[in-house]
Amino acid sequence: MTTQPTLELRGVDKSFGPVHVLSSVNLTALSGEVTALVGDNGAGKSTLIKCIGGIHRIDAGELVFDGTPHVVTGPRDAAQLGVEIVYQDLALADNLDIVQNMFLGREKVTGLHTLDENSMEKLARQALTTLSVRTVRSVRQQVASLSGGQRQTVAIAKSVLWQSKIVILDEPTAALGVAQTEQVLDLVRRLAEHGVAVILVSHNMNDVMKVADSIGVLFLGRMAAQVRREDVTQTQVVELITAGRSGDLGLSREESTGAAI
């Protein structure tokens, strides 16, 4: 592959006190492609994404954006590098309404530095309608009163308002209904078509096989393999997830059975 990856992780390590969660993880995400990140519960997917987003500092390794290594010290750094993330634990402020949450940290203001509520409300409404949200009564509702799926939709809608180079979605469809899931997968493909590098975390193999161009499999904090979609079958991916290897793909036998890292 000769194109320069938009995002490349090289040998990322992360531990919390005595717990080693990630061990020299490598991953590349190309612009215009959907890179799926899969792995068992607790494999370290969300931790990896939080490292990219600057929520956690990495202990070792490099984050390379467009060929240049960067030290990401906080969410602001990540945002400046054009990374937009929907976290699994949907960070929304319960005491604010939908519009306020969607524009949090990036409010639109008029000339006099006052908030431009009207245009934000209009934009929020548009973003939500594209995601097939049907039961939200008003975009001025507090997010505390939303259903699980509605919250998730708000978090996703928030991420598509901005022109980002990398969009990372951590289990975006977990709480979504059938129609809404379709819309989000559509959205993911559309983003990729517009040249964005999309990273999608999901446990739903059907979805992964449907939209992904490349699949990275985490196993107990190690990257078992990153493979092209067309080179693997669903069964192989599931094997990689549960055992860390499948045929000659994945970790060596010792690595995959070695005691937890």
Binding site: P75, D94, L104, V109, N118, T129
Partner: protein
């Protein structure tokens, strides 16, 4: 697709925009929201009205122009301090030293003016500046070093009492000169004509903002409140303002045969200060990104951080605002007492101000609070203190007054709580 989904996220413009139908829809919606728990200022307002009525009954002359003025100037320092506290409470923090910070800043101002001959405005400026610096310091310790604000401000609470004491020294107080403009704030009155001009400006300003908002929403194709509602709000506010301005226009000099024929009429200047600061802080909280970020950090700090808000900066800023407002409050208290005591701002000052904010509806856990809470809660506290003073006579009256003050405070708060809970049904 938009056609299908618009059916669900209702474009609010589907409702009639004006006329009786719109009005009743608006009212229905409002009542619904109230039943749903969005009570706003209703509980504090109801509590305020109830205790006012009670005191008006048990206490002759409670509603006289003289006493209303006394009430306003007594409430002013509490309200101003509570306004600042709303900001730290919004973040779930506390500033125990707001009271002694106010005392210290007014002491600095007074000592500079009296003992070192500084002009009053320079003393004032330095006093307020010190307040802001103190807040920056507290905020820095909280945000960067990570000391809990309760402990930091407990330490500064103690330390500032000491500094004030050292500054004022053994005399117990520094007296401000009677002609000082600082004293005018609480003890001098807006000329009657100017009072009415300010009233008119205030009403027109309010109406203009509301109408402009509504037109803006209409232009963007969003629903807007019917003009009848806006008109009703403006009329009610104008009437309340007019009643106050009129009452303050009555000559309050009680002794009929005064030989100094000094009339006491017009509202105290501090009312103007209160209105301006209220409007300013309200604007900042409700219409700027900074205000939005305060609520966000108070509601979910982690979400705010992930949204790119620099939480530590926000945190430092609220302590600066709080201490700055505490300094303003200290200056106004000095104006009321025409002097600065060596124990200024100690005692119950801070607890009463926090109590005011909480009674107004601000949460101690962050994320919920408005500047109007400080005003309404401050009035409740001031009404209780004013109504209680001189109510009980005789030996041990101090003890009984404490007891009754506590009881009334509890009643007001209990009332508030019951009103809030009523919605749960």
């Amino acid at each position: 697709m938009s056609a299908q989904t618009d059916h669900f996220i209702k474009p609010d413009s589907a409702e009639p925009v004006e006329g009786l139908g719109a009005l009743s829809a608006y009212i229905r919606d409002y009542l619904g929201r109230v039943r749903g728990g969005e009570l706003g200022s209703i509980p504090a307002m109801v509590g305020l009205i109830v205790i006012t009525v009670v005191f008006a009954v048990v206490h002759q002359g409670f509603l006289s122009a003289y006493n209303i003025e006394a009430l306003v100037i007594q409430a002013a320092p509490i309200i101003l301090m509570a306004m600042g506290l709303v900001f730290v409470l919004l973040l779930g923090e506390i500033d125990l030293s707001a009271g002694t910070t106010g005392g210290l800043c007014s002491a600095i101002m007074a000592v500079l003016m009296i003992r070192h001959g500084f002009p009053w405005w320079l003393g004032l400026l330095i006093g307020l500046g010190v307040g802001v610096l103190i807040g920056l310091g507290i905020g820095w310790l909280r945000a960067r070093v990570g000391v809990p604000s309760f402990v930091i401000t407990l330490a500064t609470f103690l330390a500032f009492q000491g500094v004030t004491l050292i500054l004022i020294g053994g005399q117990g107080a520094v007296t401000l000169p009677a002609d000082s403009p600082i004293i005018k704030l609480e003890n001098s009155f807006v000329p009657l004509w100017l009072g009415w001009v300010l009233w008119a400006l205030f009403v027109i300003g309010y109406a203009a903002v509301k109408v402009n908002d509504a037109l803006g929403r209409e232009r963007s194709g969003l629903s807007r409140p019917p003009f009848t509602v806006i008109a009703a709000k403006v009329v009610v506010l104008a009437a309340l303002g007019a009643a106050f301005t009129y009452e303050m226009g009555i000559n309050r000099n009680l002794s009929a045969n005064a030989f100094f024929n000094n009339k006491a009429e017009g509202m105290p200047w501090v009312v103007v200060l209160l209105v301006i600061l209220f409007a300013g802080w309200h604007f900042i909280l409700s219409r700027t990104s900074y205000g939005r970020h305060l609520y966000a950090v108070g509601g979910n700090e982690e979400a705010s951080r992930r949204a790119g808000i620099v939480v530590s900066r926000i945190r430092i800023s609220v302590f600066a605002i709080c201490s700055g407002m505490a300094a303003v409050s200290g200056v106004v208290a000095a104006s009321l007492l025409q002097s600065v005591q060596s124990n200024a701002g100690a005692g119950n000052t801070l607890l009463l101000a926090v109590g005011a904010a909480v009674i107004g509806g601000t949460s101690l856990f962050g994320g919920h609070g408005r500047v109007i809470d400080a005003v309404l809660g401050g009035l409740v506290v001031a009404v209780i203190i004013n109504g209680m003073s001189d109510l009980i006579q005789g030996a041990n009256s101090a003890g009984y007054e404490w007891v009754v003050t506590g009881a009334v405070l509890l009643l007001a708060a209990g009332f508030d709580a019951v009103v809030r809970r009523a919605r749960a049904s």
